[in-house]
Symmetry: C2
Subunit: 360 residues, 2 copies
Amino acid sequence: MPDRIYNFSAGPATLPYEVLTQAAKDIVNFRDKGIGLIEMSHRSKEFIGVVDECEALLRELLAIPADYKVLFLQGGASTQFAMVPMNLLRPGQSACYLNTGTWSKKAIKEAQLFGAVDVAYSSEASNFDHVPAPADYTVPAATEYLYFVSNNTIFGTQFHTMPATEKITVCDMSSDILSRPVDVSRFGIIFAGAQKNMGPAGCTLVIIREDLLDRAPDTVPTMFRYKTHADKGSMFNTPPCFAIYTVGLVLQWLKKLGGLTAIEKMNRDKAALLYDAIDASDFYRGHARKDSRSLMNVTFNLPTPELEAKFVSEATAASLDGLKGHRSVGGCRASIYNAFPREGVEKLVEFMGEFEKKNG
Amino acid sequence: MPDRIYNFSAGPATLPYEVLTQAAKDIVNFRDKGIGLIEMSHRSKEFIGVVDECEALLRELLAIPADYKVLFLQGGASTQFAMVPMNLLRPGQSACYLNTGTWSKKAIKEAQLFGAVDVAYSSEASNFDHVPAPADYTVPAATEYLYFVSNNTIFGTQFHTMPATEKITVCDMSSDILSRPVDVSRFGIIFAGAQKNMGPAGCTLVIIREDLLDRAPDTVPTMFRYKTHADKGSMFNTPPCFAIYTVGLVLQWLKKLGGLTAIEKMNRDKAALLYDAIDASDFYRGHARKDSRSLMNVTFNLPTPELEAKFVSEATAASLDGLKGHRSVGGCRASIYNAFPREGVEKLVEFMGEFEKKNG
């Protein structure tokens, strides 16, 4: 094996190498304090400093307004599928969901436990190959909130125009947070698992407008109320210390790169390389409609499942790892999050050309 | 600072040094695969191997019977306070709790959201300085389960005789799991946050008898049902990969040491050193009643709060870190979990002797 493969995994995903080496040092001896990062009390001033720094960097990079709380939780986006309606819906109330893939479907299922759900748009009939434009759906007047997934990891689609509504807007940004600037003030809640663009698995970021903290009915258990965590600076109980620390390192790296405007440019450039290669060939066929293509997850098919299997296997042997598509789409998926190097995309494009020549 | 301080933190707590150095290697390049541990897909055969090995070691060390599932969850023990009643109680049913400290009190509060709670015993009147003997309480005939906390981190008490009942027994073993052999077959559910005896924060172990998986009402969200995680081998969604991996390393270390019988002997020996020092002096005064003393968390007071503050501060300067007691008890607390070295306890006893000479 080479020192480092190209890792196209959809998540947990590739991280900046300097983040890994710094974490390796601090795990054994945090800032030369004679104690490992993962052994430190979460109440120690050193660890509180880690969390504070992480939050400050997030606020800076995303320009989070002062009336929003930043929470570092556990349980992944899947736990948020339940926490959002638990905190925002009361019996008899309804919410509006855009169904653009596996993760919105799962979120709809959980919301139905707590209220009525209007699915204002669904792209399921075309195997979720696109996301709707603003004119394609109507948010009902009586709805409490509009919920959508900004980037659909499995199907490789992404909202390039964010839904705009007067209602509370809730966004699962798990697979494209920090990949481009967003106007946080347009959202009520943004949440994201860390393991794609932010860090390792085990930490879920929640950004929530303060006025939404008091909506949860009294029947909601303590740990599932946003207010519990907001009131204690994510330290109501022991937080996922290592994951938060590593998110902080990734944010430092992102800031050094130039922040969200700079990374968006790099992401557009990387994705264009790959989509251009797909469009220039009849051998490769993109799954997502062009207007909905994701800059994070590029999904494509080859002429036959046999060729797809051969492609993935030979790519892996060439240190291009993790290209097998999700079973819902089949084919291939190249996840090229923030930390994925341009060089790896170039290698993949080169490999695709050679593979087509031999097998086309 | 020395290379390594003695870390008496109650959790996250000290870990074996060889675990830290191994984790540092694998974070950058997992088993020389050219990919960091925290970048690997949780569905990769390498990571599934990590989880399988971790579970197998746990089953071996704790002699977990075949009809129990082992789950690696997120959210800490605090999330279990709600998940236990959500999964075991239906409206109109009741559960029996032994109130022996902060953590049982919090668990009682959550259970009350889902059914009636009988508190069969409470040691609150004497500031939780002991746990009950079996004769001290009666489990009501109509109760669904008996809940208790095996070791009370904050107050430094521990059950040396486990409650015995025909009812389903649920135990929060967060702060003494793997510190001594236990008969798992006597329990319905055992749970524990990892960050004391098992690894870093961010992973919660649940050991559950299979027949309890089907009790949750349909109103319980997917992520809060034990069955969801049991059916998918803790891979319903992305698990806390790094924390599980590190738990696996700690289990390897524990097995090499000789397993639970060996570690219990070492824990008894370490705790005796410290309790003997307390008992030999009028200057130091143990908080826990002798019959309830914890082998994991040794709580003690000095003659005045001023002396306690001085003690903690001078101890820290001498690389004996994390000795400040929880505000509920005041004074000092020395947490000496599995991975805490005997040498560190010897140093503390020596320091206590010197401090008493100078200040007694």
